[in-house]
């Protein structure tokens, strides 16, 4: 299968998935018993009718669905229920860049950190660096994210007290120094997971025949490690980057909450707690489409890197 057919196939699947998410969200929201307009404030019938017309709740379901899909294709996600006159688009435009930069920073930290520790563990396999790194890795995946974030904040406070001045900001957003501790906290779990994956994948490549051939031709172990084994071993790690982005965007909720970062995750959790339906729906569809896009990009690049995947098909490729 050529690269273009592969890309087209994945693109189509992506579009259908996004449509499915939007429809499922719509059906789910309207299948729930209860009234989205039920608030504590007493509402006069005229006001209620006006709000219903504004949100289109008085129309039959099929028309509401058409309106919903139409608005979404236009890029309009509606207006927030709890914050009048604040459109969901504004919320996304204001808060998503914050979450995105945090996510990218933590992904970079996770990937390069995993590269460092995974390769170190694979190179010195069986000896003390390997054991220490693997113990640290298992410990890192065992601690829940919010505890890690809270402990990191505690550590910053103590560090600032010892240092004398507020060198590292404890919370907030704006400068570069605000970003690196939350990014590390967020990326630690993913880094541990990728590190373990890289290490076992490197060990598997060690048994491959091309390594034996390279050795027989006289290449040194260092050169084989870097030029041959690493490239093959990186493939499973790259596949995992797609779900890793998923993990980072959902884990971002907690870090944003604890560190007071004005990102979309914190906003989403607030909307969930306040049952702000339009925001919940809009952000869910947005998140869903974003994830589909990222997985698509990763799959396409994986298909480009490793032609075997294109032939085998997207469903069975990438796994072991």
């Amino acid at each position: 299968m050529s690269l273009w057919r592969y890309i087209l196939g994945r693109l189509l699947t992506g579009v259908v998935t996004v449509w499915f998410i939007a429809t499922a969200t719509f059906v789910a929201m309207h299948a729930v018993p209860g009234d989205p307009l039920a608030t504590d404030k007493a509402m006069s019938p005229e006001l209620r009718a006006k709000l219903e017309a504004q949100y289109g709740l008085d129309q039959p379901l099929w028309q509401q669905y058409q309106r919903y899909i139409g608005a979404m294709l236009d890029g309009d996600f509606g207006v927030s229920f709890t914050q009048a006159n604040r459109s969901v688009n504004d919320i996304i435009a204001e808060h998503f860049p914050v979450s995105a930069s945090l996510g990218i920073a933590s992904l970079l930290f996770a990937f390069f950190g995993a590269l460092l520790t995974g390769l170190a563990a694979a190179w010195w396999r069986g000896r003390w660096p390997d054991t220490t790194i693997m113990i640290a890795v298992i410990a890192a995946i065992s601690v829940p994210g919010f505890v890690l974030a809270a402990l990191a904040q505690l550590a910053i406070v103590r560090f600032n007290a010892v240092w004398g001045s507020s060198l590292i900001p404890v919370a907030g957003w704006g400068t570069l120094s605000h970003i690196w501790i939350p990014a590390m906290v967020l990326g630690l779990g993913t880094m541990a997971y990728l590190s373990r994956l890289l290490r076992s994948s490197m060990i598997e490549t060690g048994d491959a025949e091309y390594v034996l051939t390279a050795r027989a031709r006289g290449l040194g172990p260092w050169r084989i490690f870097w030029s041959h084994r690493l490239r093959n071993a990186l493939l499973p790690v790259v596949t995992e980057l797609g779900p890793a982005v998923a993990a980072l965007t959902t884990g971002g909720f907690v870090v944003e909450l604890v560190f007071g970062i004005p990102g979309m995750g914190r906003y989403f959790v607030q909307a969930v707690q306040q049952l702000d339906y339009t925001v919940i729906m809009g952000l869910t569809v947005f998140y869903g489409s974003f994830l589909v896009l990222v997985v698509l990009i990763v799959d396409i690049s994986y298909g480009w890197i490793d032609p075997r995947i294109r032939i085998a098909g997207p469903g069975s490729g990438g796994g072991r």
Binding site: T17, F20, I21, A24, T25, A28, M29, A31, V32, P33, G34, R125, G126, M134, I138, A139, I141, S142, V143, P144, G145, F146, V147, A150, Q153, L154, V157, S200, I203, E204, D207, F253, V254, L257, V258, F268, V269, V272, Q273, L275, I280, M281, T284, Y287, G288, L291, V292, G315, S316, G319, R320
Partner: protein, 437 residues
């Protein structure tokens, strides 16, 4: 003659101790450690709530945020009675005296100043010296005062300033007080320390129950809450992945056996279900089941995790069954007349089981984290019901002053997750599903 040496058996080859491979020992250690940890946890969680007599919902408001103790002895104070004021005019060597000093109330009485119209009382912790300012407590026109504000056993200093009509200070008195631990009679009767009608002797000491891990911000025993929390967390953490596995196995097994278009469509459905947003459906299940914003709901959590999580095991099982289908033993069984159901039950499922066990060992920590996160944002279990996640939530709020309240549930979550991860690792290595370390 044949030399005897040729008839005796050859000596056994020497086996050096190095030949015992290190990974095997490490693997054994992992399996044993994780199995021991899990057995301990399961025992503690199942029987702990019965064995430990404290009720996790009982609040001891006279003992909030306390450290570990094995049963303190405290005095008792009857708030419906006035302190034993000394008769006026105030007689005594000092100008000011302490009538009663306990964590329930501190009663001060002083000599009346004829020039004074008003007395202003303030307080500060002793020992901090000049760094902490005086906290004003109130003003009074009579030369006595009862302080009930946030008293604990640390030493405090009181200052009484007498003022005249022009708000000028005419005199000041200072006193250092060490309050002793006390409980109010009302609370003692309410929580069953003493009988409802009983009034103990004035100098009698009551014994508070033991709190090996201390109490939380509302005076509830932390150990009891952790044990109850373990029940919620592990219930959700184990049942949800288990149901996921069962559902996924059925779906994946049937899809793989059916093959062709049926297989295609079943897997498409699985792919779509994975794309569904988890948090949204969690909220919807909560609302659909009538769980209000401040209430606990374990069932919506489990339901959401199962209904949105089954495609993972389904894919796994499908892949495994597909590869097993082409094996010779399956062909032989089919030739001998086995139908699909027999194949599934007798041949395929037992071979899929190791894979499922490993997947389960990794899915349980994931479910525990998900439950902890949901309780953390208030979408799962809410106080006073405990779960390790909600305990972490409460602990984070007082993290800087009472770190123990955060560390204990976090430690328990980490240990549980660690044990399951180790178990999964060692199972995976034992069953040879990936290369050994």
């Amino acid at each position: 003659m044949i030399p005897e040496s040729t008839l005796s058996p050859a000596p056994a080859p020497a086996v050096s101790p190095d030949m015992t491979s290190k990974p095997a020992r490490f693997g054994q250690w992992r399996l044993r450690l994780s199995a021991a940890l899990l057995a301990l946890l399961l025992f503690a969680v199942t029987f702990g709530a019965w064995l430990w007599p404290q009720d996790p919902a009982v609040q001891w408001l006279s003992a909030v945020n306390q450290g570990p103790s094995l049963g303190r002895e405290v005095a008792w104070v009857d708030h419906s009675r006035e302190p034993a004021w000394q008769p006026t005019p105030f007689a005594g060597e000092a100008d000011i005296a302490v009538i009663e000093a306990s964590t329930e109330r501190v009663a001060l009485q002083w000599r009346r100043d004829s020039a004074a119209q008003l007395y202003r009382i303030s307080r500060r912790p002793a020992g901090d010296g000049e760094s902490t300012g005086w906290m004003p407590l109130g003003t009074t026109q009579v030369p006595r005062f009862v302080d009930r504000l946030q008293l604990d056993t640390t030493v405090v200093e009181y200052r009484v300033q007498s003022m005249n009509d022009d708000r000028r200070e005419t005199g000041v008195m200072q006193l250092t007080v060490q309050p002793q631990r006390a409980i109010s009679l009302f609370e003692a009767r309410l929580n069953g320390l003493i009988d409802a009608e009983q009034s103990p002797a004035p100098q009698a000491r009551l014994t508070l129950p033991a709190h090996p891990l201390g109490t939380d911000a509302l005076g509830r025993d932390l150990l009891a809450r952790l044990l109850q929390g373990g029940q919620s967390s592990l219930l959700v953490g184990v049942s949800a992945p288990l149901l996921c596995m069962i559902l996924g196995t059925l779906w994946g097994g049937i899809a793989a056996l059916a093959g062709g278009r049926v297989d295609d469509w079943m897997m498409r459905v699985a792919d779509f279900v994975i794309a569904l947003p988890f948090l949204l459906f969690m909220i919807l299940f909560r609302i659909a089941m009538g769980v209000g914003p401040g209430e606990s709901g374990l069932l919506p959590m489990v339901l959401a995790m199962v209904l949105l999580g089954w495609p993972g095991p389904a894919r796994l099982v499908r892949g495994q069954v597909l590869s097993l289908r082409t094996q010779p033993f399956v062909e032989a069984a089919t030739l001998s007349g086995a139908n699909k159901l027999w194949l599934l039950r007798v041949h395929l499922l037992p071979n899929v089981l190791p894979l499922l066990l490993v997947a389960l060992s990794f899915a349980i920590p994931q479910a525990i984290f998900t439950e902890a996160f949901l309780s953390f944002i208030g979408m799962g279990v809410v106080a006073p019901t405990a779960s390790w996640g909600s305990l972490c939530n409460e602990g984070v709020k007082t993290m800087l002053t009472e770190p123990a309240q955060l560390l204990w549930p976090a430690l328990l979550i980490s240990i549980t997750v660690l044990a399951f991860n180790l178990l999964g690792d060692s199972l995976r290595d034992r069953m040879g599903l990936t290369t050994r370390d």
